[in-house]
């Protein structure tokens, strides 16, 4: 590669006193453009505040949950100022680009106005954004507080467990689970609900776009969402954290319906579960088979061989479950009778201590349950 050291272009010959562009003030064009940009931003502001933005924020005009309108308010606030800033910046960039373009008649050493800085101006564009962001912070914290503590004591606490690639819904008093592959999830209209979210395998995310809030389903961690459904209807549920090959078809439906309908549906589910012969005959369970089953299906969360209650793995230790002076009752608060132990095995359990999946999630056959109960009650 030859190096060219010879003739340099005109632009590089610096005259000690270069000719400078003369500019009187900001000029009329600047103010015209400013006015135009201001009008534009006012227009977008009007649109965000009074137009229908349902096409970007689904269900914005008729909030589906009590938090949706708060989030939308925050979104609109940011959209108004964000769009305005974008309009001004790009507007000025384009205007300056045209107004101050080099003309073919320019002498080669013509340079722009040699202004290095303007402290007052810089102060303004440091202070104003700071104030704006401070306000935004305050608003965000306010909505954050509502999300965390704003919803009243839950009238319904249900569980969502993420699986590859479906959601499992558990309702109180319902022995069987509802699976998003086959059935929609139901929520009662107008009452505060608490949704406990965890995962059985990898990280998922439980998201209903119209409700705005989402929460990750992380294995070994129970998180929650609290809100009050405000509008009946059918909505999509999506998993928004990559969870494996079929992540994109991990999908469910949420039906929000009046409390009466919801209860009717729940009763129907319970009947179905009962008719499915959910009561297990515990008579002929074998403790030895139960020991094997325990090692196979329970040891992931409960220490094996079973330990005293306080020695937790994920769930508590299960030794002396039937006669532990420190813990006379089961986690359900019921006496440690075989029937009550079987109840936990069938329906799972959720409480401050953690979440245990139910028999469907653990794939426990009736015999497994019988054997496990025999085994656990045999521990002394």
């Amino acid at each position: 590669m030859r190096r060219h050291t010879g003739e340099a272009s005109l632009a590089q010959r610096y005259s000690p006193h270069p000719k400078q562009v003369r500019v009187q003030g900001l000029g009329r064009g600047f103010w015209l453009v400013t006015a135009l940009l201001t009008l534009l931003s006012l227009g977008t502001t009007y649109y965000y505040l009074f137009g229908s933005i349902d096409w970007i924020m689904p269900g914005a005009s008729h909030p589906v949950a009590d938090r949706a309108s708060d989030v939308d308010g925050l979104f609109k606030f940011m959209a108004v100022f964000g769009t305005a800033i974008l309009i001004y910046v790009s507007g000025y960039v384009i205007y300056f680009g045209i107004e101050f373009r080099a003309r073919p008649t320019d002498p080669p050493d013509l340079v722009g106005v040699p202004v290095h800085d303007a402290p007052k101006l810089e102060l303004w564009w440091t202070v104003l954004p700071t104030i704006l962001l401070a306000v935004l912070t305050a608003l965000s914290i306010n909505v954050w507080y509502k999300i965390q503590f704003g919803t009243g004591a839950p009238a319904l606490t249900m569980e969502v467990v993420g699986h590859q690639f479906y959601f499992e819904y558990r309702y109180p008093g319902l022995k069987t689970s509802v699976f998003s592959k086959t059935e929609p999830m139901h929520l009662p209209l107008g009452v505060p609900v608490r949704i406990l979210i965890t995962s059985a395998d990898v990280i998922h995310q439980f998201w209903v776009p119209e409700i705005r809030l989402k929460q990750a389903a992380v294995p070994g961690l129970v998180q929650n969402l609290n809100y009050t459904p405000l509008r009946a209807g059918t909505y999509d549920i999506a998993c928004s954290e990559f969870c494996g090959p079929d992540h994109s078809v991990m999908h469910g439906q949420l039906i929000i319906e009046p409390v009466a309908d919801f209860n009717k549906w729940l009763e129907g589910q319970k009947k179905a579960a009962a008719s499915a012969g959910a009561t297990v005959n515990l008579a002929n369970g074998s403790a030895d088979a139960g020991k094997a089953t325990f090692a196979q299906k329970c040891a992931a969360c409960h220490n094996n061989p079973p330990t005293p209650f306080d020695q937790k793995l994920v769930g508590p230790g299960l030794a002396k479950i039937t006669d532990d002076p420190a813990h006379p009752t089961l986690v359900t608060g019921k006496p440690p009778t075989p029937a009550n132990i079987a109840d936990i095995l069938q329906n799972g359990f959720t409480g401050p201590i953690g979440t245990m999946p139910n028999r469907q999630a653990n794939a426990l056959s009736d015999k497994d349950i019988a054997d496990l109960v025999a085994y656990l009650t045999s521990l002394k």
């Binding site: 220490n303 094996n304 330990t307 306080d310 020695q311 937790k312 793995l313 230790g317």
Partner: protein, 213 residues
């Protein structure tokens, strides 16, 4: 002239260097200065490597329901503080001897320099043997639990650093006796000393976090 000389503010790094080392070979002076800064920055980034794993250890320990964690039904044992305390002193002692070694080199006292440097190397090897003994009796496994994971990863990384340090110091001992370094040019020894002190200090953190916390 005064204005002439003042006309160049010495913002440029190497001018300051030259000012500091105007008595020694300027090329060496500058090279040393670059290497020193580079080496210190390397130690800093190494700190962050340990820091990240220490963060992981603290995170896991704090979020665990019980510590030491339970594995297969029984709780893991605590580490043996008394032996660790003894072993730490071995390592800290080697730091002091290394410091003596460098001091003696600066005062051109080569015999003492060799003595202290060899003492340092021996103490370093001693510490490694101590770690080996620790591993053999600690009674937990790397893949067995979060405790083992953090313990073996962190102390293993540290042990590797000590091992590298021992090799480093041995090389320095050979070079020094081959006359690679002089009374005014001994950056290798400075680097070795800094590295060795650094390894000691990392151990201070690990000693506290695993044995005393």
């Amino acid at each position: 002239m005064a204005t002439a000389a003042a006309a160049i503010p010495h913002g440029g790094g190497h001018a300051e260097v030259a000012a500091r080392y105007h008595d020694v070979d300027p090329v060496y002076a500058e090279t040393r200065d670059l290497r020193l800064l580079g080496f210190v920055l390397f130690l800093l980034s190494d700190c962050i490597l340990f820091g990240a794993f220490i963060f992981a250890y603290i995170y896991l320990r704090v979020s665990a329901p019980a510590w030491p964690p339970f594995v297969g039904g029984h709780q893991l044992p605590w580490f043996d503080t008394s032996f660790a305390a003894f072993n730490s002193i071995v390592l800290f002692g080697s730091g002091v001897t290394m410091h003596f070694a460098l001091e003696n080199w600066k005062h051109l006292n080569k015999r003492k320099f060799n003595m202290w440097l060899i003492a340092t190397i021996i103490l370093g090897i001693g510490f490694l043997l101590g770690q080996a003994h620790e591993y053999s009796v600690v009674g937990i496994s790397w893949a067995g639990s979060t405790m083992g994971a953090s313990f073996f990863t962190l102390t293993g990384m540290h042990g590797f650093h000590v091992f590298v340090g021992v090799c480093f110091l041995t090389t320095l001992a050979i070079q020094a006796n081959r006359g690679v370094y002089t009374g005014s040019k001994y950056f290798g020894l400075t680097a070795g000393t800094l590295y060795w002190h650094f390894v000691d200090v990392i151990w201070v953190a690990l000693f506290f976090l695993f044995y005393l916390w």
